[in-house]
């Protein structure tokens, strides 16, 4: 039996980079506190804690001599400023795509545009983006939330993980109501690539195993896509759940994983499958 991995799966570039930066800093002997969990995956958070990473919820919890890790979502400008003022060592793991979106909000604001951020109110990344808008940026997640627009110049930037369809809809609506609109498409296509990859995988395999939290929206999306293409799908959170009967009479098994699933969990699943099939 052959195991085929999806062309793209698991952690995105930004999350992978943040975890590497945390690991490097810890290896170099730094005491590191992460402002909020690096990733919404308890297994991975426990692993990082076991090698010394401390998770704090507020910068007031920082201990003497501790470095702070800014996770891939980024943080509001005021927090960076306060950390700098206090002379704290910052390990900035803000995803480069998020940092670019922050720069674009800053640029549009300085050029006199009224900025609309297409994204989810309250999302950590969005809180960061908004802070670059100098009290002049609005967050919009649906057409209904678009503010009244007069003949102002409008700038639009998106939360990197926002839906492309909704981004297009919001852009269309704003464009139809405004004279000048300047748009930076700051959306990241990591999720989309994972979705396309699972579609491809269905065509090449007899069954698909999707690894990721049952509460993870992006993981469930991968499951739904595979099901809608008529695949036999097994959704698991851990290697413990893999059953030998799944592989009986199967020639090719496809594997993919949600964006919050660490590589080592995927590796353990692969190990378990090999154990069951090749022992």
């Amino acid at each position: 039996m052959e195991i085929i991995l999806a062309r793209e799966y698991g952690f995105c570039f930004g999350v992978r980079r943040a975890i590497s930066l945390a690991e490097e800093a810890l290896k170099s002997g730094k005491h590191v506190a992460s402002l909020g969990p690096i990733i919404h995956n308890p297994l991975e958070v426990s692993r990082l804690e076991s090698i010394g990473l401390r998770v704090i919820e507020d910068i007031s919890e920082l201990r003497e001599g501790e470095s702070i890790l800014i996770r891939s979502h980024g943080v509001p400008l005021e927090i960076i400023q306060e950390l700098k003022d206090r002379g704290i060592d910052i390990i900035d793991a803000t995803c480069p795509l998020v940092a670019r979106a922050q720069r674009m909000v800053d640029f549009l604001t300085s050029e006199g545009y009224r900025v609309i951020i297409a994204g989810e109110q309250g999302h950590p990344e969005v809180k960061g983006l908004v802070s670059y808008g100098k009290n002049n940026a609005s967050v919009v997640s649906t057409l209904e939330e678009i503010p009244e627009l007069s003949r102002e110049k409008i700038g639009i930037v998106g939360q990197t993980t926002f839906s492309l369809e909704r981004f297009r809809e919001i852009v269309g609506e704003v464009v139809s109501k405004s004279w000048e609109v300047r748009i930076f498409n700051t959306l990241c296509d990591a999720s989309r690539k994972r979705q396309l990859a699972v579609e491809e995988l269905v065509d090449k395999t007899d069954a698909i195993i999707v690894i990721g939290g049952r509460n993870s929206a992006n993981t469930r999306r991968l499951v739904d896509i595979a099901l809608s293409k008529g695949a036999t799908v097994y959704h698991i959170e851990s290697w413990d759940e893999v059953l030998p009967e799944w592989f009986i009479g199967k020639d090719k098994i496809g594997i993919t994983a949600g964006a919050s699933t660490p590589d080592w969990v995927i590796d353990k699943v692969l190990e378990k499958i090999r154990e069951l099939c090749y022992q």
Copy 2:
């Protein structure tokens, strides 16, 4: 019986202005040739010819001492340049909204944007707009015509009479494929306002008379909207067609007209109705 005019009907601002400029120039004693017909309405073109306006198809047809009238659609930059080089008196009746769109194509090009013009290939206004793009502007009327885009900066400008729905679609598609998109919404809402006005009119009247060419797309659109709202609709091109039985038992009659219908044709229709009903 009461006659109610639509809140907006007939000539748009740009066409009305072009005709005024032609009339003024002729009154001041100038010999004027219009480059192409000012409007696609033979009755109006004949009227203007009767007061001295000559219609030519190419600037080579200009006679010694004649002024040239640029109609509301505007013309390519090269034509203006040639006319200036030849020292010809130019009566520029380019619609101010079209002139603004031309300036925006010029501006975006000079700022290094690749320009997309959302409009109909071959339309006189579009030919003018394209000329401001220094061989770097593409005309797109459907999603299929959008060129391959890499990570260039894209500027979008619309033909003033282009459909807002298609403009939004094209913008959405380009935005989803590009990193930076700068849009000038140069669409004119004259047609849309006339369409909204006929809807309102249906609610207030017992029957609607729509005046305009049977081949005029925007006139037919007014007829269709009124019919779809359940109105009794009479579509006429001329006052000759008005029949007395249309008004029997009617309390309120609504009147509207397509964008190429001159005021004096509308006046003659009103006169005819009054004659039939009040004599």
